[in-house]
Protein backbone atom coordinates (compact mmCIF):
# COMPACT_ATOMS: atom_id res chain seq x y z
CA UNK A 1 0.00 0.00 0.00
CA UNK A 2 1.39 3.42 -0.76
CA UNK A 3 0.88 6.61 1.17
CA UNK A 4 -1.54 8.00 -1.38
CA UNK A 5 -3.88 5.06 -1.11
CA UNK A 6 -3.70 5.06 2.65
CA UNK A 7 -4.42 8.77 2.64
CA UNK A 8 -7.43 8.30 0.38
CA UNK A 9 -8.72 5.40 2.45
CA UNK A 10 -8.35 7.51 5.55
CA UNK A 11 -10.19 10.45 4.01
CA UNK A 12 -13.03 8.31 2.70
CA UNK A 13 -13.39 6.83 6.19
CA UNK A 14 -13.64 10.34 7.58
CA UNK A 15 -16.11 11.36 4.92
CA UNK A 16 -18.33 8.45 5.87
CA UNK A 17 -18.52 9.70 9.45
CA UNK A 18 -20.85 12.72 9.65
CA UNK A 19 -19.39 14.00 12.91
CA UNK A 20 -15.95 14.62 11.46
CA UNK A 21 -16.90 16.00 8.06
CA UNK A 22 -16.24 19.48 9.39
CA UNK A 23 -12.76 18.40 10.40
CA UNK A 24 -11.98 17.11 6.92
CA UNK A 25 -11.68 20.58 5.48
CA UNK A 26 -9.18 21.42 8.13
CA UNK A 27 -7.15 18.23 7.90
CA UNK A 28 -7.00 17.95 4.13
CA UNK A 29 -4.94 21.05 3.30
CA UNK A 30 -2.50 20.31 6.07
CA UNK A 31 -1.89 16.83 4.71
CA UNK A 32 -1.46 18.10 1.18
CA UNK A 33 0.79 20.96 2.17
CA UNK A 34 3.03 18.54 3.99
CA UNK A 35 3.04 16.13 1.08
CA UNK A 36 4.03 18.76 -1.44
CA UNK A 37 7.49 19.50 -0.08
CA UNK A 38 8.69 22.73 -1.66
CA UNK A 39 6.08 23.26 -4.36
CA UNK A 40 4.11 26.49 -4.04
CA UNK A 41 1.22 26.28 -1.63
CA UNK A 42 -0.75 28.63 -3.79
CA UNK A 43 -4.04 28.68 -5.64
CA UNK A 44 -4.68 30.06 -9.11
CA UNK A 45 -3.88 32.17 -10.95
CA UNK A 46 -0.50 30.55 -10.62
CA UNK A 47 2.78 32.32 -11.27
CA UNK A 48 6.19 31.20 -12.42
CA UNK A 49 8.51 30.97 -9.39
CA UNK A 50 11.91 32.65 -9.68
CA UNK A 51 14.93 30.38 -9.99
CA UNK A 52 16.84 30.25 -6.69
CA UNK A 53 20.15 30.80 -8.57
CA UNK A 54 21.43 32.33 -11.82
CA UNK A 55 20.71 30.42 -15.04
CA UNK A 56 24.43 29.77 -15.49
CA UNK A 57 24.92 28.61 -11.89
CA UNK A 58 24.48 24.91 -12.65
CA UNK A 59 27.00 24.64 -15.49
CA UNK A 60 28.57 21.60 -13.80
CA UNK A 61 25.54 19.71 -15.12
CA UNK A 62 23.15 22.00 -17.01
CA UNK A 63 24.01 24.80 -19.43
CA UNK A 64 22.55 28.31 -19.10
CA UNK A 65 20.59 28.15 -22.35
CA UNK A 66 18.82 24.97 -21.26
CA UNK A 67 17.97 26.59 -17.93
CA UNK A 68 16.62 29.70 -19.63
CA UNK A 69 14.36 27.81 -22.02
CA UNK A 70 13.37 25.16 -19.52
CA UNK A 71 12.34 27.69 -16.89
CA UNK A 72 11.33 30.68 -19.02
CA UNK A 73 9.50 28.80 -21.81
CA UNK A 74 8.54 25.27 -20.78
CA UNK A 75 7.67 25.96 -17.14
CA UNK A 76 6.01 29.25 -18.11
CA UNK A 77 3.84 27.39 -20.64
CA UNK A 78 2.65 24.93 -17.97
CA UNK A 79 1.74 27.86 -15.71
CA UNK A 80 -0.12 29.68 -18.50
CA UNK A 81 -2.04 26.61 -19.64
CA UNK A 82 -2.91 25.65 -16.06
CA UNK A 83 -4.29 29.16 -15.56
CA UNK A 84 -6.42 28.77 -18.70
CA UNK A 85 -7.90 25.62 -17.19
CA UNK A 86 -8.49 27.31 -13.82
CA UNK A 87 -10.27 30.18 -15.59
CA UNK A 88 -12.57 27.71 -17.37
CA UNK A 89 -13.53 25.47 -14.45
CA UNK A 90 -15.18 26.91 -11.31
CA UNK A 91 -14.23 23.74 -9.40
CA UNK A 92 -10.56 24.76 -9.71
CA UNK A 93 -11.06 28.28 -8.43
CA UNK A 94 -9.18 28.82 -5.18
CA UNK A 95 -7.79 25.28 -5.11
CA UNK A 96 -4.22 24.85 -3.98
CA UNK A 97 -1.89 23.25 -6.47
CA UNK A 98 -1.23 20.36 -4.08
CA UNK A 99 -4.92 19.70 -3.77
CA UNK A 100 -5.42 19.68 -7.55
CA UNK A 101 -2.55 17.19 -7.92
CA UNK A 102 -4.04 14.87 -5.29
CA UNK A 103 -7.41 14.68 -7.06
CA UNK A 104 -6.22 15.14 -10.62
CA UNK A 105 -8.34 12.24 -11.92
CA UNK A 106 -11.40 14.52 -11.49
CA UNK A 107 -10.19 16.95 -14.15
CA UNK A 108 -9.44 16.96 -17.89
CA UNK A 109 -6.05 15.79 -19.19
CA UNK A 110 -4.94 19.41 -19.65
CA UNK A 111 -5.16 19.92 -15.87
CA UNK A 112 -3.19 16.75 -15.15
CA UNK A 113 -0.50 17.72 -17.66
CA UNK A 114 -0.12 21.36 -16.72
CA UNK A 115 -0.69 21.16 -12.95
CA UNK A 116 1.84 18.32 -13.02
CA UNK A 117 4.23 20.39 -15.11
CA UNK A 118 3.95 23.32 -12.69
CA UNK A 119 4.33 21.19 -9.55
CA UNK A 120 7.20 19.11 -10.90
CA UNK A 121 9.25 22.03 -12.15
CA UNK A 122 8.68 24.14 -9.03
CA UNK A 123 9.96 21.17 -7.04
CA UNK A 124 12.85 20.52 -9.46
CA UNK A 125 14.43 23.99 -9.36
CA UNK A 126 14.72 23.81 -5.58
CA UNK A 127 16.46 20.45 -5.73
CA UNK A 128 19.52 21.96 -7.36
CA UNK A 129 22.29 24.28 -6.22
CA UNK A 130 25.78 25.26 -7.32
CA UNK A 131 26.97 24.86 -3.71
CA UNK A 132 28.40 21.63 -2.38
CA UNK A 133 25.93 20.00 0.01
CA UNK A 134 25.74 16.80 2.01
CA UNK A 135 22.82 14.59 2.94
CA UNK A 136 21.64 14.12 6.51
CA UNK A 137 22.64 10.98 8.38
CA UNK A 138 19.03 9.85 8.57
CA UNK A 139 18.51 10.17 4.80
CA UNK A 140 21.78 8.34 4.18
CA UNK A 141 20.58 5.58 6.49
CA UNK A 142 17.23 5.32 4.70
CA UNK A 143 18.95 5.11 1.31
CA UNK A 144 21.33 2.44 2.62
CA UNK A 145 18.43 0.49 4.11
CA UNK A 146 16.78 0.33 0.67
CA UNK A 147 19.77 0.18 -1.67
CA UNK A 148 22.79 -0.95 0.36
CA UNK A 149 24.96 2.02 -0.52
CA UNK A 150 24.44 5.55 -1.81
CA UNK A 151 26.46 4.60 -4.90
CA UNK A 152 24.12 1.70 -5.64
CA UNK A 153 21.10 3.99 -5.15
CA UNK A 154 22.54 6.49 -7.64
CA UNK A 155 23.19 3.72 -10.15
CA UNK A 156 19.63 2.43 -9.90
CA UNK A 157 18.19 5.96 -10.09
CA UNK A 158 20.19 6.59 -13.28
CA UNK A 159 19.05 3.27 -14.74
CA UNK A 160 15.41 3.97 -13.96
CA UNK A 161 15.68 7.41 -15.57
CA UNK A 162 17.37 5.98 -18.64
CA UNK A 163 14.69 3.31 -19.06
CA UNK A 164 11.71 5.66 -18.74
CA UNK A 165 10.62 5.48 -22.40
CA UNK A 166 9.76 8.89 -23.77
CA UNK A 167 9.04 11.93 -21.62
CA UNK A 168 8.85 11.59 -17.88
CA UNK A 169 10.44 11.82 -14.48
CA UNK A 170 12.42 9.62 -12.13
CA UNK A 171 11.77 10.10 -8.42
CA UNK A 172 12.88 9.08 -4.98
CA UNK A 173 9.77 8.84 -2.84
CA UNK A 174 9.01 8.07 0.78
CA UNK A 175 6.48 5.24 0.89
CA UNK A 176 3.78 4.67 3.49
CA UNK A 177 6.17 2.22 5.19
CA UNK A 178 8.63 5.15 5.55
CA UNK A 179 11.11 3.52 3.25
CA UNK A 180 12.63 5.30 0.28
CA UNK A 181 11.97 3.95 -3.20
CA UNK A 182 12.78 4.88 -6.82
CA UNK A 183 9.73 5.27 -9.08
CA UNK A 184 9.20 6.71 -12.56
CA UNK A 185 6.22 8.51 -14.07
CA UNK A 186 5.41 9.35 -17.69
CA UNK A 187 5.08 12.92 -19.02
CA UNK A 188 4.25 15.34 -16.18
CA UNK A 189 2.63 12.86 -13.83
CA UNK A 190 4.02 12.70 -10.32
CA UNK A 191 3.83 10.28 -7.41
CA UNK A 192 1.30 12.39 -5.49
CA UNK A 193 -1.30 12.14 -8.24
CA UNK A 194 -4.26 9.86 -7.64
CA UNK A 195 -3.75 8.43 -11.13
CA UNK A 196 -0.33 6.89 -10.55
CA UNK A 197 0.17 3.24 -9.64
CA UNK A 198 3.29 3.58 -7.50
CA UNK A 199 2.82 6.65 -5.37
CA UNK A 200 4.56 8.18 -2.42
CA UNK A 201 5.92 11.52 -1.31
CA UNK A 202 8.67 12.75 -3.65
CA UNK A 203 11.84 13.97 -1.98
CA UNK A 204 14.00 14.02 -5.13
CA UNK A 205 13.11 14.02 -8.82
CA UNK A 206 14.88 14.42 -12.12
CA UNK A 207 13.28 15.53 -15.36
CA UNK A 208 14.06 13.16 -18.24
CA UNK A 209 12.11 14.97 -20.94
CA UNK A 210 14.57 15.55 -23.77
CA UNK A 211 14.20 19.34 -23.31
CA UNK A 212 15.96 18.95 -19.94
CA UNK A 213 19.22 17.79 -21.49
CA UNK A 214 19.21 17.72 -25.30
CA UNK A 215 21.19 20.90 -26.00
CA UNK A 216 24.21 19.60 -24.09
CA UNK A 217 23.84 15.82 -23.94
CA UNK A 218 21.82 15.09 -27.12
CA UNK A 219 20.76 11.43 -27.14
CA UNK A 220 22.91 10.61 -24.12
CA UNK A 221 20.36 10.72 -21.33
CA UNK A 222 22.48 8.44 -19.15
CA UNK A 223 25.31 10.99 -19.17
CA UNK A 224 22.92 13.73 -18.11
CA UNK A 225 21.61 11.61 -15.24
CA UNK A 226 25.16 10.95 -14.07
CA UNK A 227 26.23 14.63 -14.26
CA UNK A 228 23.11 15.77 -12.47
CA UNK A 229 24.41 14.53 -9.09
CA UNK A 230 26.94 17.40 -9.27
CA UNK A 231 24.19 19.95 -8.69
CA UNK A 232 21.77 18.11 -6.39
CA UNK A 233 20.97 20.05 -3.25
CA UNK A 234 21.20 17.29 -0.65
CA UNK A 235 20.32 19.73 2.10
CA UNK A 236 16.89 20.28 0.51
CA UNK A 237 16.45 16.58 -0.23
CA UNK A 238 17.27 15.79 3.43
CA UNK A 239 14.71 18.37 4.57
CA UNK A 240 12.15 16.88 2.20
CA UNK A 241 12.86 13.46 3.70
CA UNK A 242 12.53 14.72 7.27
CA UNK A 243 9.16 16.32 6.47
CA UNK A 244 7.85 13.39 4.44
CA UNK A 245 8.44 10.82 7.14
CA UNK A 246 6.71 12.78 9.89
Amino acid sequence: MNSLISKRTFLSYLAATPLVIGALQFISPVKFAHAAADAPKTSGPFTLPKLPYATNALEKAIDAQTMEIHHGKHHQAYVDKLNEEVAKDPALKGKMLDEIIGEVSKYPAAVRNNAGGHWNHSFFWNLMTPEPTTMSDELKQAIEDSYGTVEEFKKQFEEAGTKQFGSGWVWLVVTSEITVEIVTTPNQDNPLMDVVELGGTPILGNDVWEHAYYLRYFNKRADYLKSWWNVVNWKVVSENYAKAKL
Binding site: K73, F165, G166, S167, Q188, E210, H211, N219
Partner: protein, 208 residues
Protein backbone atom coordinates in the same frame (compact mmCIF):
# COMPACT_ATOMS: atom_id res chain seq x y z
CA UNK B 1 16.22 -12.08 -39.11
CA UNK B 2 17.91 -9.20 -37.41
CA UNK B 3 16.58 -5.69 -37.96
CA UNK B 4 18.98 -3.24 -39.58
CA UNK B 5 19.17 0.53 -39.81
CA UNK B 6 18.18 1.70 -43.30
CA UNK B 7 20.21 4.48 -44.88
CA UNK B 8 18.63 7.90 -45.21
CA UNK B 9 17.13 8.29 -48.70
CA UNK B 10 18.92 11.68 -49.07
CA UNK B 11 22.06 13.43 -47.87
CA UNK B 12 22.16 14.56 -44.24
CA UNK B 13 22.14 18.19 -45.32
CA UNK B 14 19.31 17.78 -47.85
CA UNK B 15 16.50 19.02 -45.61
CA UNK B 16 18.07 22.25 -44.45
CA UNK B 17 17.18 24.77 -43.24
CA UNK B 18 13.96 23.09 -42.11
CA UNK B 19 15.71 20.10 -40.56
CA UNK B 20 19.42 20.43 -40.00
CA UNK B 21 22.24 18.02 -40.76
CA UNK B 22 22.99 17.87 -37.05
CA UNK B 23 19.42 16.86 -36.22
CA UNK B 24 19.41 14.16 -38.88
CA UNK B 25 22.76 12.81 -37.72
CA UNK B 26 21.56 12.39 -34.15
CA UNK B 27 18.07 11.33 -35.08
CA UNK B 28 19.06 8.71 -37.65
CA UNK B 29 22.51 7.56 -36.53
CA UNK B 30 21.88 7.60 -32.78
CA UNK B 31 18.16 7.45 -31.97
CA UNK B 32 16.99 5.20 -34.81
CA UNK B 33 20.10 3.04 -34.43
CA UNK B 34 19.36 2.59 -30.72
CA UNK B 35 15.81 1.41 -31.49
CA UNK B 36 17.20 -1.14 -33.94
CA UNK B 37 19.87 -2.37 -31.52
CA UNK B 38 17.45 -2.68 -28.61
CA UNK B 39 14.78 -4.34 -30.78
CA UNK B 40 17.27 -7.02 -31.75
CA UNK B 41 18.29 -7.52 -28.10
CA UNK B 42 14.77 -7.70 -26.74
CA UNK B 43 13.20 -9.86 -29.45
CA UNK B 44 15.67 -12.72 -28.83
CA UNK B 45 13.85 -15.65 -27.24
CA UNK B 46 10.33 -14.22 -27.54
CA UNK B 47 9.20 -16.44 -30.40
CA UNK B 48 8.55 -13.34 -32.53
CA UNK B 49 11.96 -13.42 -34.21
CA UNK B 50 10.76 -14.82 -37.51
CA UNK B 51 7.81 -12.53 -38.00
CA UNK B 52 7.90 -9.43 -40.19
CA UNK B 53 8.57 -6.15 -38.40
CA UNK B 54 4.89 -5.21 -38.69
CA UNK B 55 3.67 -8.57 -37.38
CA UNK B 56 6.13 -8.58 -34.47
CA UNK B 57 5.20 -4.97 -33.66
CA UNK B 58 1.45 -5.70 -33.51
CA UNK B 59 2.01 -8.91 -31.51
CA UNK B 60 4.24 -7.09 -29.00
CA UNK B 61 1.70 -4.25 -28.70
CA UNK B 62 -1.05 -6.72 -27.76
CA UNK B 63 1.07 -8.43 -25.09
CA UNK B 64 1.57 -6.03 -22.18
CA UNK B 65 4.53 -8.07 -20.93
CA UNK B 66 6.34 -7.09 -24.15
CA UNK B 67 5.86 -3.31 -23.77
CA UNK B 68 9.63 -2.72 -23.79
CA UNK B 69 10.04 -4.63 -27.05
CA UNK B 70 7.02 -2.90 -28.55
CA UNK B 71 8.57 0.52 -27.91
CA UNK B 72 11.62 -0.39 -29.99
CA UNK B 73 9.69 -2.10 -32.79
CA UNK B 74 7.15 0.70 -33.01
CA UNK B 75 9.89 3.30 -33.22
CA UNK B 76 11.81 1.25 -35.83
CA UNK B 77 8.69 1.08 -38.00
CA UNK B 78 7.87 4.77 -37.45
CA UNK B 79 11.36 5.97 -38.35
CA UNK B 80 11.75 3.74 -41.43
CA UNK B 81 8.76 5.58 -42.90
CA UNK B 82 9.53 8.97 -41.36
CA UNK B 83 12.70 9.34 -43.43
CA UNK B 84 10.64 8.73 -46.59
CA UNK B 85 7.89 11.11 -45.51
CA UNK B 86 10.31 13.98 -46.09
CA UNK B 87 12.27 15.16 -49.11
CA UNK B 88 14.23 18.14 -50.29
CA UNK B 89 11.85 20.67 -51.80
CA UNK B 90 8.83 18.87 -50.36
CA UNK B 91 5.72 20.13 -48.63
CA UNK B 92 2.99 22.46 -49.81
CA UNK B 93 -0.45 21.85 -51.18
CA UNK B 94 0.39 20.15 -54.50
CA UNK B 95 -1.00 16.71 -53.82
CA UNK B 96 -1.44 13.79 -56.24
CA UNK B 97 -5.01 13.86 -57.62
CA UNK B 98 -6.78 10.90 -56.00
CA UNK B 99 -5.24 11.55 -52.58
CA UNK B 100 -6.18 15.21 -52.83
CA UNK B 101 -9.76 14.29 -53.65
CA UNK B 102 -10.08 12.11 -50.57
CA UNK B 103 -8.41 14.68 -48.32
CA UNK B 104 -10.92 17.21 -49.62
CA UNK B 105 -13.78 14.82 -48.87
CA UNK B 106 -12.68 13.61 -45.42
CA UNK B 107 -10.62 16.49 -44.00
CA UNK B 108 -11.98 19.68 -45.55
CA UNK B 109 -9.19 19.92 -48.05
CA UNK B 110 -5.51 20.68 -47.68
CA UNK B 111 -6.14 23.59 -45.29
CA UNK B 112 -8.33 21.37 -43.11
CA UNK B 113 -5.65 18.66 -43.15
CA UNK B 114 -2.93 21.15 -42.29
CA UNK B 115 -4.84 22.68 -39.39
CA UNK B 116 -5.83 19.34 -37.86
CA UNK B 117 -2.43 17.72 -38.41
CA UNK B 118 -0.53 20.60 -36.78
CA UNK B 119 -3.04 20.75 -33.95
CA UNK B 120 -2.63 17.01 -33.31
CA UNK B 121 1.15 17.37 -33.26
CA UNK B 122 1.02 20.38 -30.97
CA UNK B 123 -1.37 18.79 -28.49
CA UNK B 124 0.29 15.36 -28.32
CA UNK B 125 1.57 15.85 -24.77
CA UNK B 126 5.11 14.59 -24.33
CA UNK B 127 6.81 12.26 -26.79
CA UNK B 128 4.81 10.88 -29.69
CA UNK B 129 3.62 11.25 -33.25
CA UNK B 130 0.87 12.91 -35.30
CA UNK B 131 -0.54 11.04 -38.28
CA UNK B 132 -2.61 11.10 -41.41
CA UNK B 133 -4.16 7.64 -41.28
CA UNK B 134 -6.68 5.58 -43.17
CA UNK B 135 -9.21 3.64 -41.13
CA UNK B 136 -9.02 0.07 -42.41
CA UNK B 137 -12.71 -0.65 -41.91
CA UNK B 138 -14.23 2.50 -43.42
CA UNK B 139 -11.41 3.56 -45.73
CA UNK B 140 -11.80 7.11 -44.38
CA UNK B 141 -8.83 9.41 -43.81
CA UNK B 142 -8.36 10.83 -40.35
CA UNK B 143 -5.85 12.68 -38.19
CA UNK B 144 -4.55 10.67 -35.25
CA UNK B 145 -2.02 11.30 -32.49
CA UNK B 146 -0.18 8.61 -30.53
CA UNK B 147 2.18 8.61 -27.54
CA UNK B 148 5.82 7.44 -27.59
CA UNK B 149 6.30 4.59 -30.11
CA UNK B 150 2.66 3.87 -30.89
CA UNK B 151 1.25 4.29 -34.38
CA UNK B 152 -1.98 3.89 -36.38
CA UNK B 153 -1.07 0.33 -37.44
CA UNK B 154 -1.47 -1.03 -33.91
CA UNK B 155 -4.85 0.74 -33.76
CA UNK B 156 -6.11 -1.09 -36.86
CA UNK B 157 -5.40 1.79 -39.22
CA UNK B 158 -2.95 2.46 -42.03
CA UNK B 159 -0.23 5.07 -41.54
CA UNK B 160 -0.07 7.29 -44.63
CA UNK B 161 1.99 10.13 -43.12
CA UNK B 162 3.53 10.69 -39.72
CA UNK B 163 5.51 13.41 -38.03
CA UNK B 164 7.75 12.72 -35.06
CA UNK B 165 7.07 15.11 -32.19
CA UNK B 166 9.60 13.68 -29.76
CA UNK B 167 11.67 16.69 -28.76
CA UNK B 168 14.78 15.09 -30.28
CA UNK B 169 13.34 15.62 -33.74
CA UNK B 170 13.13 19.42 -33.41
CA UNK B 171 14.92 20.66 -30.33
CA UNK B 172 18.23 21.47 -32.01
CA UNK B 173 16.52 23.46 -34.77
CA UNK B 174 13.41 24.90 -33.08
CA UNK B 175 14.00 24.57 -29.32
CA UNK B 176 10.58 24.56 -27.60
CA UNK B 177 8.72 25.90 -30.65
CA UNK B 178 7.04 22.66 -31.72
CA UNK B 179 4.31 24.42 -33.80
CA UNK B 180 6.99 26.13 -35.93
CA UNK B 181 8.59 22.75 -36.64
CA UNK B 182 5.21 21.32 -37.63
CA UNK B 183 4.51 24.26 -39.95
CA UNK B 184 7.87 23.78 -41.64
CA UNK B 185 7.24 20.04 -41.96
CA UNK B 186 3.91 20.62 -43.74
CA UNK B 187 5.02 23.58 -45.85
CA UNK B 188 8.53 22.47 -46.84
CA UNK B 189 9.26 18.81 -46.09
CA UNK B 190 6.38 16.40 -46.75
CA UNK B 191 7.09 13.92 -49.53
CA UNK B 192 3.55 13.66 -50.94
CA UNK B 193 4.67 11.10 -53.54
CA UNK B 194 5.47 8.63 -50.78
CA UNK B 195 2.17 9.40 -49.01
CA UNK B 196 0.33 8.76 -52.30
CA UNK B 197 2.23 5.50 -52.80
CA UNK B 198 1.05 4.22 -49.39
CA UNK B 199 -2.45 5.48 -50.12
CA UNK B 200 -2.56 3.57 -53.43
CA UNK B 201 -1.48 0.37 -51.65
CA UNK B 202 -4.59 0.61 -49.48
CA UNK B 203 -5.18 -0.76 -45.98
CA UNK B 204 -2.23 -2.31 -44.17
CA UNK B 205 -3.83 -5.17 -42.28
CA UNK B 206 -1.52 -7.01 -39.93
CA UNK B 207 -2.57 -10.35 -38.51
CA UNK B 208 -1.22 -11.12 -35.07
Amino acid sequence: MAFTLPELPYAYDALGPYMSKETLEFHHDKHHQAYVTKANELIAGTGLENLSLEEAMVAAFKDKSKAGLFNQLGQHFNHIHFWHWMKKGGGGNKLPGKLEAQITKDLEGFEGFKKKFIEAGTTQFGSGWAWLAMDNASGKLEIVKTPNGENPVVLGKTALLGVDVWEHSYYIDYRNARPKYLEAFVDSLINWDYVAELYEKGPMKIAA
